[in-house]
């Protein structure tokens, strides 16, 4: 029963917690069953956004997955600000996966799109303001004074007239008995004491002594351990295996087939795209791994033996000329403007499939239970960033209702988009059901490298017409890419086309009156997924590399070329001006050093970067320094912003230098970190990061630092060598 009427009691609810504190929750309009919003104290506790215990500890439940981006600190900062809490007493934890913690703007639970602060701020700020108001009124009642005579700071309410003060902990029980108020005014930026400060991350203490529990660390009674092998060809079929050899391995309990066909009856084969696989269940992970080796499963090639990365690239480039591409943007008259241009600058670019390589390999713990009365239920502990998606898949495959599935989101060792996917969760549940045991499924790194949902591979063709003054007057960009949305974000499709494929291409900020952007999907049986910054991860490279080509061809300084085309975008101009100054762009680089720049907007934040590099006689690229300027609007935590930009630049530089899966006979060639090179400490450049603080609406921060790093680097490589590398990776 869903009650869509918003009223005071439904929106906010408070209750006493068992130990005598305050618990404040709020049901989200249209999302929450009436029973839980009007429920007894017990259910209110489960839906509580924040609790304050008698010792004054404020525990804030965060409805987003913490995968390194700092959301378990940034969202609590927003609540603590309005609450006027003592930050030293604030704790955070992952919110339960219930309708109370579904995002009101998206109607779903999931973490991605650099969206947490943007999507949650007003909603959660109200929770803090409401709790503060209740605590103040409780103090006023106790002291028989007017609320207006009270002041509050750092979780302590004071009454100057009577020289009394009380901490939130001692007021919490009384506050819980009061009616929550709605629509209280929120603070203005000049009143902030916590927002805008480099507050320490709340999760750091548990991450320096081994006590933080990730998905892989889940242990439940009678749990058995599973590992699996999936078909190296994504459409391959299991042809043989040696079950008796596997069962002869000590500790091995069961061999469980996970046929790709199992997804078909539920109609999820396209969205999950789980290849044929077989799992070994044993008393320990090591025994399961040995059992899998003995099992030695063999798969056929699924008819994909002719596929290689060379064939994929050639087919994508051929598809750039397809005349049936979808027109995604069409401004002015490109044909006429191009024919009238003083000159036309053209180039083709490509980028490969990229693996995510989260440090924590894919894993999930599942317990499929059948009660004595035959009723079924499923409990899952998953390092997932896509709860709603996962629940949808599980409900369809097992025919269970939402109430029959309990999903716990754990901490996770990296996400980067990989953990949106449902494959590893579904596999663990299938194994648990087949074995009638609680099961922890853990993939090897080899499985992780070879069975990812890779960043789409793509190609991009530009024809840019410039006038006598060197100003671009026409811009034609054809994009060919594998699709993410067609597989598992069908609701995002625009007229059947994948908007992710053209992110960063269809929305360039440059004032060019005649623009055409087209899209042609490239089909591959190698699955594509979201990878940090999604379409901007390739289009940002293409567009900003092409802008550099235009600057070189017209003899313009790359900052000046962009400024001429961004006169109606003051925030871009501010980023460019700051980046030019911080990088001393107009002064020559040190001897042997070369610089490149790029600027890109995605997820409502603008990031400009300068890469400073040198190139050895053998062609090896050394990145010495990255200078980065970000405008992400209102700053919540500058320390987290800095760390996210460092992280994004390492990710982008790694991808640009070495990233990409190699494909032979339809299979991924690489298998582990020895042959998929990742940046290490000794290769890490100096990071010089500058944040433009302003009053604009907050933008995202987990992803926007990635796209400009790749073209900044390749533009620097051109400056160093005169060689324009149009196919990533640069050191192929």
């Amino acid at each position: 029963m869903i009650n869509k009427t918003i009223n005071r009691r439904q929106f906010l609810k408070s209750s006493a917690i068992a130990a005598g504190g305050l618990s404040l929750g709020f049901a989200l309009p249209g999302c929450a069953p009436e029973a839980s919003s009007e429920g007894a104290a017990g259910s209110s506790d489960i839906s509580a956004w924040l609790t304050i215990d008698p010792e004054g500890i404020v525990t804030i439940r965060v409805p987003c997955s913490e995968m390194g981006q700092g959301v378990h600190t940034s969202l609590p900062m927003i609540i603590a600000e309005e609450l006027d809490a003592d930050w030293q007493l604030v704790r955070s934890e992952t919110a339960p996966v219930t309708p109370d913690f579904v995002n009101p703007l998206t109607g779903s639970r999931g973490t991605g799109g650099s969206s947490a602060v943007r999507r949650w701020w007003p909603t959660i700020a109200k929770a803090g303001a409401t709790a503060r108001d209740m605590l103040l009124r409780a103090a006023a009642e106790q002291w028989a004074v007017d609320v207006s005579e009270l002041t509050v700071a750092n979780g302590i309410v004071s009454h100057a007239g009577s020289n009394r003060s009380a901490g939130y902990g001692s007021l919490a029980a009384a506050a819980a008995a009061l009616e929550p108020a709605m629509d209280l005014p929120l603070k203005t930026a000049d009143q902030y004491k916590i927002i805008g400060t480099p507050a320490k991350r709340l999760d750091t203490p548990s991450k320096v002594n081994g006590s933080a529990l990730f998905g892989i660390d889940v242990r439940i009674p009678e749990m058995q351990y599973a590992t699996l092998a999936a078909s190296p060809n994504f459409k391959g079929n299991l042809r043989s295996m040696d079950e008796s050899a596997a069962k002869a391995v000590r500790g091995v309990q069961r061999i469980i087939s996970l046929p790709a066909a199992a997804q078909e009856s539920a109609g999820v084969q396209d969205i999950v795209a789980m290849p044929d696989a077989v799992a070994v269940l044993a008393d320990s992970y090591w025994q399961a791994k040995k059992g899998l080796q003995a099992l030695n499963p063999q798969f056929d090639d699924g008819g994909a033996a002719s596929i290689s990365d060379a064939t994929i690239r050639a087919e994508m480039i051929a598809a750039l000329s397809d005349e049936d591409a979808a027109v995604m943007r069409n401004d002015g008259d490109v044909a006429q403007a191009t024919s009238g241009a003083q000159r036309v600058i053209s180039a083709d670019y490509t980028a490969p499939f990229l693996a995510h390589l989260c440090m924590e390999p894919m894993n999930c713990t599942a317990h499929y239970k059948v009660a004595e009365d035959g009723s079924e239920s499923l409990e899952i502990w998953a390092p997932t960033q896509g709860e709603s998606h996962v629940l949808n898949v599980l409900q369809r495959v097992f025919g269970l209702s939402e109430q029959q599935i309990t999903l716990h989101t754990t901490l996770m060792g990296g996400g980067f988009g990989r953990r949106f996917e449902a494959d590893f969760v579904l596999q663990s549940a299938l194994i648990s059901k087949a074995a009638a045991k609680p099961v922890k499924l853990l993939w090897s790194r080899e499985e992780d490298v070879q069975h990812d949902y890779y960043r789409p591979t793509s190609a991009s063709r530009f024809e840019v017409g410039v006038d006598d003054s060197g100003r671009p007057v026409s811009w034609r960009n054809a994009v060919v890419a594998t699709s993410v949305a067609k597989r598992n974000f069908a609701a995002a499709l625009v007229n059947g086309n994948d908007p992710f494929s053209i992110e960063g291409a269809v929305n360039i900020p440059y004032d060019i009156p005649n623009q055409t952007v087209t899209l042609k999907e490239y089909h591959s049986n190698i699955p594509s997924g979201s990878w940090r910054s999604v379409g901007s991860s390739h289009n940002g490279f293409y567009v900003e590399s092409m802008m550099d080509e235009v600057a070189v061809a017209t003899g313009k300084d790359p900052f000046q070329l962009r400024r001429e085309l961004l006169q109606n975008h003051p925030r871009f101009i501010a980023v460019l001006d700051r980046l030019e100054a911080e990088s001393n762009w107009q002064s020559p680089a040190a001897a042997g050093r070369f610089r490149g720049m790029a600027v890109h907007e995605c997820f409502a934040s603008i990031v400009g970067e300068v890469a400073e590099i040198s190139v050895s006689d053998t062609g090896a690229i050394k990145v010495h320094k990255m200078i980065c300027v970000v405008d992400c609007g209102r700053v919540v935590n500058p320390s987290i912003i800095e760390s996210q930009l460092e992280s994004a630049m390492i990710d982008g530089l790694t991808a640009a230098l070495w990233g990409g899966v190699r494909i032979r006979e339809g299979r991924i060639v690489q298998s582990n970190f020895h042959d998929y090179r990742l940046m290490r400490l000794r290769e890490t450049p100096l990071m010089d990061i500058h944040i433009i603080d302003n009053n604009e609406a907050p933008g995202g921060i987990g992803e926007p630092g990635v796209p400009p790093s790749m073209p900044a680097l390749s533009n620097a490589l051109f400056a160093a060598t005169g060689r324009r590398v149009r196919s990533l990776p640069l050191e192929a």
């Binding site: 913490e66 995968m67 390194g68 700092g70 480099p198 320490k200 991350r201 999760d203 750091t204 203490p205 548990s206 991450k207 320096v208 002594n209 081994g210 006590s211 933080a212 990730f214 892989i216 660390d217 242990r219 351990y225 000590r250 500790g251 320990s284 992970y285 090591w286 025994q287 040995k290 989260c358 440090m359 924590e360 390999p361 901490l411 996770m412 060792g413 990296g414 996400g415 980067f416 090897s444 790194r445 320390s639 760390s643 996210q644 460092e646 992280s647 994004a648 630049m649 390492i650 990710d651 582990n672 970190f673 020895h674 990742l678 940046m679 290490r680 400490l681 000794r682 890490t684 990071m687």
Partner: protein, 152 residues
């Protein structure tokens, strides 16, 4: 099979080819030490064996009878070890998954070189961090140098 971990002696039965990593995690329930590659490439599983930094994912337990292992849980429970203190002061971890190994590698480096140069840090700190926390790892090691040292 007898093994001392963080100064506590354990006696257990396990397949003798089991790597130390899985004994720590699955047999003894100490999950601070992490699995990430299984081939001693990334260092997420780094521990000390008799005071020497080792990657536990490829160390068969049969080679460790009677030896002494220390893990991240053994540095300190209350985060008082200078490397832990430095990691907190610089807010190093992002996802945090590799940090047990990074911290053990840093602690081992500071045992060998109480005041390491950037070049020594470059050579010693070869662990992978997919969050790219490297700049802060370097800063935290320099900070740990400035703080008073104590025995690991």
């Amino acid at each position: 099979m007898k093994l001392t971990v963080n100064e506590v002696e354990y006696d257990f039965e396990v397949d003798e080819d089991t790597p130390l990593l899985w004994v720590l995690r699955d047999t003894l329930g100490m999950t601070g030490t992490k699995f990430a590659c299984g081939v001693a490439q990334c260092g997420a599983c780094s521990v000390m064996v008799d005071g020497e930094l080792q990657r536990s994912c490829t160390l068969p337990i049969s080679t460790l009878e009677g030896r002494s292992v220390s893990t991240v849980e053994g540095l300190s429970r209350d985060n008082s070890h200078p490397v832990q203190q430095a990691w907190i002061a610089e807010d190093v971890p992002q996802c945090g998954y590799c940090q047990s190994g990074q911290i053990m590698a840093a602690a081992a480096l500071l045992e060998s070189y109480p005041n390491p140069s950037d070049e020594q840090i470059d050579s010693a700190m070869t662990n992978i961090c997919r969050c790219g926390s490297y700049s802060r790892i370097r800063k935290a090691i320099h900070r740990a140098i400035r703080e008073p040292q104590q025995e690991i």
